[in-house]
């Protein structure tokens, strides 16, 4: 087969390079650039500073002695060179001595007062020196650096606490570091950028515009429409998925012969990514359904036209999306319900059978209260994933088909009734489009923050409400 083109080698240097880089990032860089230098610098610096502190006073003390020695040396030299000069000098010296003695006698009274003053200044000077040394973290009497001492007792030293702290940091840094760098930092940046006129092209030259972005998005009928559509979609989706999943779980927990096969089979679509599923269903909706329609001679609704290309109506698109997501997600939620249903004690059900309860009564009075906790979890999961839905929609219709704006919204937002909207323009897609198609990063970020707040409120409200219900049941 010559027409098969040459493949790129799957195993090339890239993997080696990658492993090497991983090694560098995880082990070598923290070790070489953080830990070892810190320890090294701490020890060397503390010793050097200790040396300086001890050496400087000695040096200062040595200066007068040094001058004395040198001057004596020169005096001797002069004496040897000019012997007569010695006699003249000694005469002068004796004169001076006598004068000094007189002066001394006169002063003696004042000296005691002067001593007090000197002591006072010495005290103040000492305190100033202490304060300065505290400021620069050098403790002159203990002969060690306060900061380095702190580091030594708590991080770099050999004490047990220091070792524990070291391992604490070492074990925490990879997870906390990447979490801080790639989640917390962008989140905080995002909060800031939502108040600027960031467009993606003016990086570094953004201007803070206050709440302008937020007021823009709430007067933007596309965003309001997408919020309405997302809410509608989420509510319908949560209902459909949970009803389907719970009935599937009820079916599969019966004493069936192939029940494990059913469980695995219903679960299978959940394994395949939303993007790939979207393409599969786009094919089904655009090609297979119309073909079925022509085959059975019933050409209406989704059976008469393709989902993409502007033929479908907005409600059809919504229905199609919900069907796909329910098909994908019901198996997973079913597994949660199965786990809950298996915990329902069989003797309770037997007893209710003997008491003459029918299937519906059993479901209502025994099973529902006992699986209430599973309902909380399943509702929360489906709600959050519905709000976050992105890849399935992107591959299924790309956010389309476009439709006219609903009349009530046109009235509220005060836009012409012929304004066009995308019927599956969910909030996630709206954010993505705003940022990457219109290059309005600041507005997109503001939308994202609003999206986050909505998600937070909805999630918290749902969980608290369900837990209340749980207690009531």
């Amino acid at each position: 087969m010559n027409h098969v083109r040459k493949q790129e080698l799957p195993f090339n240097n890239k993997i080696l390079v990658f492993l090497f880089k991983m090694f560098i990032f995880i082990i070598a860089i923290p070790l070489v650039f953080i830990y070892v230098p810190l320890r090294f610098i701490a020890r060397k610096l503390s010793k050097f500073i200790l040396f300086l502190i001890q050496a400087i006073p000695k040096f200062i003390q040595a200066i007068p002695e040094f001058i004395l020695v040198i001057s004596k040396f020169f005096i001797r030299l002069i004496d040897i060179l000019f012997p007569k000069g010695k006699e003249i000098r000694e005469e002068k010296r004796e004169k001076k001595r006598s004068v000094k003695l007189e002066h001394k006698r006169n002063r003696e009274v004042k000296v005691s007062e002067q001593n007090k003053l000197a002591k006072f200044f010495a005290n103040v000077g000492e305190k100033i020196v202490l304060f300065l040394s505290w400021l620069t973290a050098f403790h002159p009497y203990k002969g060690d650096n306060v900061i380095i001492k702190y580091l030594d007792t708590n991080i770099t030293g050999e004490k047990v606490e220091a070792q524990k702290m070291r391992s604490f940091i070492f074990f925490l840094v990879p997870a906390l570091g990447s979490f801080t760098v790639f989640v917390i930092t962008p989140f905080l940046m995002g909060v800031f950028f939502s108040f600027t006129d960031w467009t993606g092209l003016n990086n570094g030259n953004e201007v803070i515009v206050g709440f302008q972005n937020y007021s823009t998005i709430f007067s933007d009928y596309l965003f309001v429409y997408s919020f309405i559509r997302t809410t509608l979609y989420s509510v319908l989706n949560v209902i459909v998925i949970n009803v389907v999943a719970f009935s599937l779980a009820l079916v599969v927990t019966q004493n069936l012969k192939l029940k494990n096969v059913y469980r695995a089979g219903f679960f299978l679509p959940n394994l395949i990514g939303g993007l790939v599923l979207g393409y599969i269903w786009q094919f089904v909706y655009s090609n297979v359904f119309p073909a079925i329609g022509t085959a059975i001679g019933w050409e209406s609704g989704i059976f008469s036209h393709s989902l993409i290309g502007g033929y479908a109506s907005s409600s059809e698109a919504m229905g199609a999306l919900i069907a796909v997501v329910a098909w994908q997600y019901a198996g997973y939620i079913m597994m949660i319900y199965i786990a809950a249903l298996q915990n329902v004690p069989t003797d309770l059900i037997e007893a209710s059978k003997i008491d003459g309860a029918n299937a519906f009564q059993r479901l209502r009075t025994i099973i529902f209260p006992l699986v209430a906790q599973a309902f909380t979890i399943a509702l929360f999961l489906t709600l959050v994933t519905s709000f976050k839905q992105f890849d399935t929609v992107i591959s299924l219709t790309g956010g389309g088909p476009s439709a006219l704006i609903p009349e009530y919204l046109a009235k509220i937002m005060d836009v012409p009734t012929w304004s066009s909207v995308n019927s599956l323009d969910l909030m996630t897609i709206n954010i993505y489009e705003t940022a990457f198609s219109h290059y309005e990063m600041g507005i997109g970020q503001a939308k994202a923050i609003v999206f986050f707040l909505i998600l937070l409120i909805v999630g918290v409200a749902q969980v608290t409400y369900s837990q209340k219900k749980e207690v009531e049941l």
Binding site: V4, Q7, E8, P10, F18, K21, M22, F25, I26, Q163, K164, S167, F168, F171, L172, P174, A175, L176, S178, T180, V181, F182, V183, T185, P186, F187, G190, F193, L248, V251, V252, Q254, N255, L256, G265, F266, L268, P269, N270, L271, I272, G274, L275, V276, Y279, I280, W281, F283, N287, A291, I292, A339, F390, D391, T428, G444, Q445, A448, F451, L456
Partner: protein, 285 residues
């Protein structure tokens, strides 16, 4: 008794029909992956005229520049497995020291981790892209379109849930084991890697499944961090790239969809028990 049996049989038939309905889309994909583009557009329900078309479609996908199947497949495997191992070990480490260090700051750090669970990716994505560019410009380490960059980002996004789950589990491990190991002369790192990590295995498997499915199927994060035509692009990106280029070439697209779905399905058939257990216990926790 008899009535119950009849009821069971009816339910069995009903479940079987549902199963068939659930598998219909897959069947349609397989059916149409064996046909040429013309055959698909004329009648998507008919069988293929020539079985050799299937092989031809597959070789087309394998040699297609748009999808570069083996390359993308390998990238997906490297990124997924690398991220899984990194997330598991790193967040296990973090959770362990957070549980065992009973100080106020460890509690604060744990709460910070928990807050990460409520942040949706959409809030973070725009600044993240900018941050990655800033890192590559200012620090000189390219983070976009590299294995380690993607893996580190996945560690960041996967850490909250994993740390939370490990945290809950490690609390139940008695301290006696660790004390015994310390008396026997274990260092702190040996203590974690030889004693604690083996005990964490059940949670590790759960996280492997949860994070593995998420990372393998993720589309938006790789789209932003790697790019549609990046060097280390994953399978979903490759499929999206092909779909963007050949939106009407259903034969190629369906074959690529099939090839993208097969690895996970095969893995599921082998590790069904673990996957279902992992997914459910993960959700309930």
């Amino acid at each position: 008794m008899n009535r119950d049996k009849i009821g069971l049989i009816i339910i069995e038939i009903f479940a079987f029909l549902l199963l068939v309905l659930f598998f219909l889309p897959f069947a349609l994909v397989i059916l149409n992956a064996t046909k040429t583009a013309v055959e698909i557009t004329t009648d998507p329900l008919a069988f293929a005229k020539d079985a050799g078309t299937f092989w031809k479609n597959i070789t087309n996908i394998m040699t297609s520049e748009q999808i570069r199947y083996w390359n993308s497949f390998l990238n997906s495997i490297i990124i997924t497995s690398g991220s899984l191992i990194a997330i598991g070990i790193f967040s296990g480490m973090a959770a362990w020291v957070l549980v065992r260090t009973k100080k106020r700051y460890s509690h604060i750090i744990f709460v910070i981790f928990l807050s990460g669970m409520v942040i949706p990716f959409q809030v973070v994505m725009l600044p993240l892209v900018r941050l990655l560019e800033a890192i590559s410009v200012n620090v000189g380490i390219p983070m976009k379109d590299t294995y380690y960059g993607v893996i580190l980002i996945y560690v960041g996004f996967g850490a909250p849930l994993s740390v939370f789950m490990f945290h809950g589990f490690i609390k139940s491990i008695p301290m006696d084991i660790e004390e015994a190991a310390i008396i026997d002369g274990c260092s702190r790192s040996q203590l974690f890697f030889r004693i604690i990590l083996p005990i964490l295995k059940p949670i590790f498997v759960t996280l492997l499944v949860l994070n593995g499915l998420w990372i393998w199927n993720d589309y938006l994060l790789p789209l932003l961090v790697i790019g549609m035509s990046g060097d280390v692009r994953t399978l979903p990106l490759a499929v999206a790239n092909l779909a963007g280029a050949y939106i009407r070439q259903w034969d190629l697209l369906l074959t690529s969809v099939l090839l993208a779905a097969i690895p996970v399905v095969v893995l599921f058939l082998f590790a069904q028990k673990f996957i279902i257990k992992g997914m459910t216990s993960g959700a309930i926790k």
